[in-house]
């Protein structure tokens, strides 16, 4: 069972979200990927206005509309607009089919408006995916580091939070969030560097490690290869490739009456 935590419509050939989605599913089938989580539309917008993030979320809603048996959506928000983000969270998650939240690089996550979003996510049982990178070459102004995420997550032990890209510089990211058991790591979106999965499993336990691809910026192949080639047990691979994400999503799926 493979569930991919981290997929985008951007970069996939197709004139419409439906066309892009059809192509995404076609290639996912070749890799035996059963379920996909999508967030953000095309093109990527670093700091979307409320109107823009609504439009981006509409693309995802349209893309998954014919594929509810294969795909989930996370709502893309910009914490610079707290009230509008909370309204959008309700529109897409409380009143819509989405199951999580995507926060990217508009604002670093250690600010008060993110706390408001996280509190609402907890009420809705929604997963929070926060992009994180600690770049040797320097971060974007609004780009969160694993330390920013640690500060946020420390204030919300009831939240289900995912440290995007394992912090990019993963040896540092893993160390940073290690003491927070409600924080998992997303393996996707970086080079398929050998040793990443082994360290994550050793330091966090396999139950906190999630396969994600960051397709179409990345390939399914390069990101799956991190897991399939890792020197861990077959059981741990199964957890990482799908079982963990299914477990994390179970509360909100049950609340929505979704049967798997």
């Amino acid at each position: 069972m493979i569930w991919d935590l981290h997929c985008h419509l951007n970069g996939i050939p197709g004139r419409t979200p439906d066309e892009k989605m059809a192509r995404l599913i076609e290639v996912a089938d070749r890799m035996q990927i059963e379920r996909l989580v999508l967030f953000m539309g095309a093109p990527f917008l670093i700091a979307p206005t409320p109107e823009q993030f609504r439009e981006q979320n509409d693309q995802v809603l349209q893309a998954i509309s014919h594929w509810h048996h294969r795909a989930f959506g996370f709502v893309y928000l910009n914490p610079e607009y707290e009230q509008e983000s909370l309204q959008e969270l309700d529109r897409c998650v409380k009143d819509g089919p989405m199951t999580g939240i995507k926060l990217w690089v508009a604002k670093r996550c250690d600010i008060a408006s993110v706390d408001a979003i996280v509190r609402r996510a907890i009420e809705l049982k929604a997963i929070i995916y926060q992009h994180t990178w600690l770049k040797t070459t320097g971060n974007l102004e609004g780009e969160s580091t694993p330390a920013d995420l640690h500060a946020l997550a420390s204030r919300h032990p009831e939240a289900s939070i995912i440290c995007g890209h394992t912090g990019g510089n993963w040896e540092l990211g893993i160390r940073t969030i290690r003491d927070l058991p409600h924080v998992s790591v997303d393996l996707g979106g970086g080079d398929p560097t050998a040793g990443l999965v082994e360290m994550a499993v050793r330091e966090l336990g396999a139950s906190r490690v999630l396969y994600g691809s960051d397709v179409a910026g990345r390939s399914f192949a390069s990101q799956l290869g991190k897991v399939t080639a890792a020197e861990i047990t077959p059981e741990e691979k199964q957890m990482i490739l799908g079982q963990n994400l299914r477990r994390l999503m179970s509360p909100i799926l049950q609340a929505k009456g979704v049967r798997l």
Binding site: G11, I12, R23, L24, V27, R30, M31, W133, K135, T136, T137, G168, N169, W170, E171, G190, D191, P192, T193, A194, G195, E198, V215, A216, G217, R218, S219, F220, A221, S222, Q223, L224, G225, K226, T228, A229, A230, E231
Partner: protein, 257 residues
């Protein structure tokens, strides 16, 4: 059958890798259907005594599996008497080619020594590998930061060396598609797939580069080997094209030397 043109032995400078012992790497390559791997050495990144590093490389290849591991010597054009390292690679070790790591050796391809190297290799009928990057700059150690190699100077040199195979390792990305096409048209320039990304990336790649110029390369053991292998599964290619990439192009490069 797979010929992997992008493998390295020895230790990565700032991390142990799961397959950084040669016997273990060789076993993993064989288990994955690799019949031959063109192996450089990570020692080439920072060692100054490359004669010793290249001798070690040859000894490792011979002691573990000389049919599997084809040694590709490291050359640093910034070192005094680098030509002697080329001579030893060719005459003492019988190597088929050499690998440059310019990002770690502080020169550009505009350097006159680079042209001299091309002349030497053409004369000896050896192949050249250029590692355009070894690691994403965003994840590099702060004290070991290097930039990707600028390939533009190569474009003007290729016409003088029409028969020299130049293999660009870890070069493929979405940001230099036009230049890569120009390079492939200007000479016998090849690209490995280790850093190829994107949905069904090989299907897209063969639209911008002819499949005759693509080679299977894993960048193992720094990258997980499966990453490259699964790219063959993610893209649907006609069998002849797929075989060109997995091994036929590499076989032809060696047979034409």
């Amino acid at each position: 059958m797979i010929i992997d043109v992008n493998v390295s032995l020895s230790r990565w400078p700032n991390r142990r890798l799961p397959l950084d012992e040669t016997p273990k790497l060789a076993a993993a390559l064989k288990q994955n259907g690799v019949s031959q791997a063109w192996a450089g050495t990570f020692d080439g990144l920072l060692h100054n005594d490359l004669a010793a590093a290249n001798k070690w490389l040859v000894d490792q290849c011979r002691s573990v599996d000389e049919k599997l591991l084809l040694p590709i010597g490291a050359i640093n054009l910034s070192l005094p008497a680098w030509e002697e390292d080329v001579r030893r690679c060719y005459e003492l070790h019988g190597m088929k080619g050499v690998r440059l790591l310019p990002g770690y050796h502080d020169y550009t391809l505009e350097d006159p020594r680079f042209r001299q190297l091309l002349s030497l290799l053409a004369e000896k009928h050896m192949l050249l590998q250029i590692a355009v990057r070894q690691e994403d700059p965003r994840t590099q150690h702060r004290l070991l930061m290097t930039k990707d190699v600028d390939l533009k100077p190569l474009l003007t040199l290729l016409s003088d060396f029409p028969n020299l195979p130049v293999i660009l390792l870890n070069a493929v990305s979405s940001s230099a598609v036009e230049l890569h096409g120009q390079l492939a048209a200007a000479g016998k320039v090849y690209f490995d797939i280790a850093t190829l990304e994107g949905l069904a990336g090989l299907e897209r790649q063969v639209q911008s580069l002819p499949s005759e110029r693509l080679l299977f390369g894993s960048h193992s053991p720094f990258f997980a080997f499966d990453s490259a292998k699964l790219k063959l599964q993610e893209s649907e290619l006609p069998a002849p094209r797929r075989e060109q990439i997995t091994h036929l192009n590499a076989v032809k490069i060696l047979s034409d030397l």
